[in-house]
Symmetry: C2
Subunit: 419 residues, 2 copies
């Protein structure tokens, strides 16, 4: 009998083999695969809805929350969004094969770097069937094979979607194993996957911090991962306060649950008397709870008292920590101490303040006069996003197609030898 | 009493703090630090030689091999090479702070990526005191703090070199903790270092495969590492055979012990009758043992019989595996199956053959008409090299200053909000 470990290993071996084919595929082939998936999706609403209904029935019997049910549901609209996304990714320029600047060495040999696929990507995610399509599309376009593992609540939906993907790959002459799905709902399968350093080049975990921390303990394969998003907006003494207000409101209230949501607002003491009451009233009226330092509370007595825990917290909720700081250095020190290196912004009209903040704040995204909620690959112009990375190595910040590639050196000569 | 783990942790904490300072240092400061180290080295030959003699005396009493003693010795010449290297790295352009292409989004916000230091680098190496200087110089120039741990045989030499580095850092107003050395010879210290994900951003192990495999088992911090260098030269049917001969001789005999040394020569069957005897005679006369496939042995009966093990072997010795292949596809299949993805070369005059090899061979360096022994950061024009990476993520191939950096996103706007 085949053990689970052998099954997962065999999936990895097939993925490695398939990666050799998709690595060499032309953009024409890869884009045709994506368009074909889109066409098939458009024609398969009935089958997909039927599979999805099985998942929904089970989910309801397990009392899943409304938000989870919402993410799990394949509606005609969500299916249409999937095929639109596929066609958009198909239309993007192929990242593979492009050469950077070629330099000529003193002996005449030419040195350049060529963009190439990473190889095999393992993607582990929760019960959101749209990730199955997005992840597969990004991997195909970037010339990678992938092994997918979604949440068990979406099992039937994912299997139906993967069947469509297989059919499309076959139709355009690419191996079906370019996109594989781990069919068992046994959690141990993920444990095997993240340790298969021979077969898997990188793991992209998408989901809550609990999932990612657990995988981090087990993984031997490198991960492109996202941990905390404790984002700050600092309102400088040279800020336009009306602009600062719009930015702070947008950063907090665009969506409370996204990783780019502002969690702490820092205000320069020179503008605190004007700005703190103004922003606190605006946010309070929008239902945001303010937790402030003593100076904040002196200016807005309705604010609750902030503890050190509040500086560390990623609320993902209508709560905002607020602190009046002595100067920009104090603001940057606060961000360095309490921030998570995700996305932090300054609001200022002073070019020196902007430059210093941009240079010295060590976060994956640093903004001047913009709300932190812009932290998103589409907003950056990446066209698509596999996730946001809080790693320092390889991909940092929003990760698009390029984050799923790497560079190899290519050298050309005419028989030069090393002396 | 402080435990060893606490000691290593405290070193990491100091390094993290120091990294915040060196990260913000100007190139003037960083280059001044390197020039000052060079000046101090030039004036400290006596002290350094005295410390080195202690190590040499111990090494001799432990019967270290001649090659190891050679690497361990600080001669006036090797000290001069160190200060030259320091001045060269000082003169290189600062990689930090440069901005890539800025794109403007439809809403007017500007998006770019800025090159920034990785943070804290842990470097683990064998008993080569010159690595102490090289590694520290590359880290300082790239704005990183580092924690060094060299082989115990070089302990006194390394401590004397680190004292010089500390003196120079202090002289230019940078924290001495930018470069720290783990002073204990207890091996467990390395085990703690490679798991300190809070304090250390990346580990660069330099040394034999044994060391690296051991670290790979223990490490939780990402590593920029080098494993095997099983490099191939493929002589195509459209090769200029005289060029092919020069390339093969250089690739094998430039230095047997380097990771870019050719270990297997693949020859297209159409040119085998001409080329195999020619190259085998030339290499044999240089003392290289040939281990060939049946077709090779039919053309050069002195060749020993190659087994599958020979295709896998990284000899690092005057031994060469040789195989006659049906065509270029067979050559590339051989490289895909047996190679280590390090450096592989084709010799050909045919542009289609060259392009296909360059595109489809999945190695960190792929050459056309050049010997594999060029695999070196200086040869590529990187100016300096911390090592060669066989990773796929982040840095791949020779790693210079840029490999010790990462990118952050910087966005500027005028108060745009997300709708």
């Amino acid at each position: 009998m085949t053990t689970l470990q052998e099954t997962v290993k065999a999936i990895g071996t097939r993925a490695r083999l398939a990666s050799k084919a998709i690595m060499r595929a032309t953009d024409q082939q890869k884009s045709a695969a994506l368009s074909t998936i889109a066409d098939l999706l458009d024609r398969s609403h009935d089958v997909l809805t039927l599979a999805n209904e099985k998942d929904l029935a089970q989910a309801k019997s397990h009392d899943l929350s409304g938000a989870l049910l919402d993410r799990l549901t394949l509606s005609p609209k969500s299916l249409l969004l999937m095929s639109q996304s596929l066609r958009q990714i198909a239309a993007m320029p192929d990242p593979i094969g492009s050469l950077g600047v070629t330099t000529v060495r003193p002996n005449g040999m030419r040195v350049a770097q060529m963009r190439v696929p990473l190889g095999v990507i393992g993607i582990i995610y929760e019960s959101r069937p749209n990730v199955t399509i997005d992840a597969a599309a990004l991997c195909i376009k970037s010339g990678n094979a992938c092994v997918l593992r979604g949440g068990s609540e979406a099992f039937h939906s994912n299997m139906a979607l993967v069947a469509v993907i297989s059919q499309a790959l076959k139709a355009v002459g690419l191996p079906e194993s370019v996109v594989q799905y781990i069919e068992t709902t046994d959690r141990d399968a993920v444990g095997y996957l993240v340790t298969m350093t021979e077969e898997i080049d990188v793991i992209v975990p998408r989901g809550g911090k609990g999932l990612i921390k657990r995988l981090q303990e087990q993984a031997r394969v490198p991960m492109i991962k996202h941990l905390d998003g404790n984002c700050h907006v600092y309102v400088d003494k040279a800020a336009n306060l009306e602009t600062a207000k719009q930015i702070a409101i947008n950063a907090k209230t665009y969506r409370y649950g996204i990783c780019g949501a502002m969690e702490t607002l820092l205000v320069h003491q020179a503008v605190a008397a004007d700005f703190v009451p103004m922003i606190c009233e605006a946010l309070s009226s929008l239902g945001v709870e303010i937790r402030g330092c003593a100076k904040t509370r002196a200016l807005f007595p309705d604010a609750k008292e902030a503890s050190a825990q509040d500086w560390a917290e990623e609320y993902l909720a209508p709560i905002l920590a607020m602190r009046v700081v002595d100067d920009q250095t104090a603001a940057m020190d606060h961000i360095a101490k309490w921030g998570s290196g995700h996305t932090d912004a300054i609001v200022t009209q002073d070019i020196a303040a902007a430059d210093a903040f941009e240079r010295d704040v060590d976060s994956s995204s640093v903004y001047v006069n913009l709300p932190t909620c812009f932290a998103d690959g589409f907003e950056y112009g990446l066209g698509a996003e596999i996730g946001i990375s809080t790693n320092r190595l390889h991909a940092r910040g929003p990760v698009g197609l390029e984050g799923l590639t790497t560079l190899k050196w290519v050298l050309r000569g005419e028989g030069q030898t090393r002396g």
